[in-house]
């Protein structure tokens, strides 16, 4: 971490069936927040994780770089044969994804159990 930087984003990982649920909180902005998210995704793919559900319920702020990082995570996971979905968007994040026309690119859920099931269906389980 660069000296003097505050920790802007926190993440907690949970395994639910075959899905890695990542509870994110704080700010996903240019700098530390984006870097943390990028490293987290890289680390999970390195461990063989295929299904990632990003829970954004407690994300307080996201900027254009943060949106870009979500896109990057989505394409990185997809290119590895996996799936990345979003859960519990706040109104602000929801509006930003609408404005940037990304709402339809991502598979967005507001019910965790249904989101988990959607991965299993897609995997043919």
């Amino acid at each position: 971490m660069k000296e003097g930087w505050t920790v802007s984003m926190k993440s907690t990982l949970r395994q639910v069936d075959s899905v890695t649920v990542v509870d994110l909180s704080g700010r996903i902005t240019l700098g530390e927040g984006c870097t943390q998210l990028r490293e987290l995704i890289r680390e999970q793919l390195g461990k063989g994780t295929k299904f990632v559900l990003l829970n954004l319920a407690d994300v307080t702020y996201i900027d254009s770089s943060g949106i870009g990082e979500l896109v990057s995570a989505f394409t990185t996971v997809s290119n590895q044969g996996g799936q990345l979905k979003l859960l519990n968007l706040t109104k602000k994040v929801h509006d930003l994804l609408q404005i940037t026309k990304l709402y339809t690119v991502f598979d967005v859920h507001d019910d965790e159990a249904k989101a988990i099931t959607s991965f299993e269906k897609a995997a043919g389980a």
């Binding site: 003097g4 900027d63 254009s64 770089s65 896109v71 990057s72 602000k92 404005i99 940037t100």
Partner: protein, 146 residues
Amino acid sequence: MTTESNIVEMTLESDLNRVEVVEEVARRVSATAGFDEDDQHKIEMAVHESVINAIWHGNKNDPSKQVWLRFQIFDDRLEIRVRDQGSGFDPGGVANPLKEENLLNVSGRGIFLIRTFMDEYQVKKLEGQGTEVTLVKRLNSNNSGQ
């Protein structure tokens, strides 16, 4: 930071950690100007993106270079100027992020968001060195940002 009754000026180092302070100032000035919470957030985001551009693309993250901001409240609008000390950037050179082929681009949404959230956005190359952007949000504007 200096303040008059309707003007707030501040100068900050090219340090991303300083951006949160600017967001707070943007929120307070917007509230003072009479914008509702929704517009306050839009102005805050537009200022955030402008300052990020000034630090990252303008000043190239050089801590010896500074970013200057001026918020001025008028009867009918809020005008914000953000000035960097870099070699300038071309906002017209950014691909339209809404085009199908650009949707999955990682970058290129900052200026789009500023233009969406504000009523006016102008970029001026300064004599010598630096770029100044001017953001205007009108009170009672119909710009919903969506």
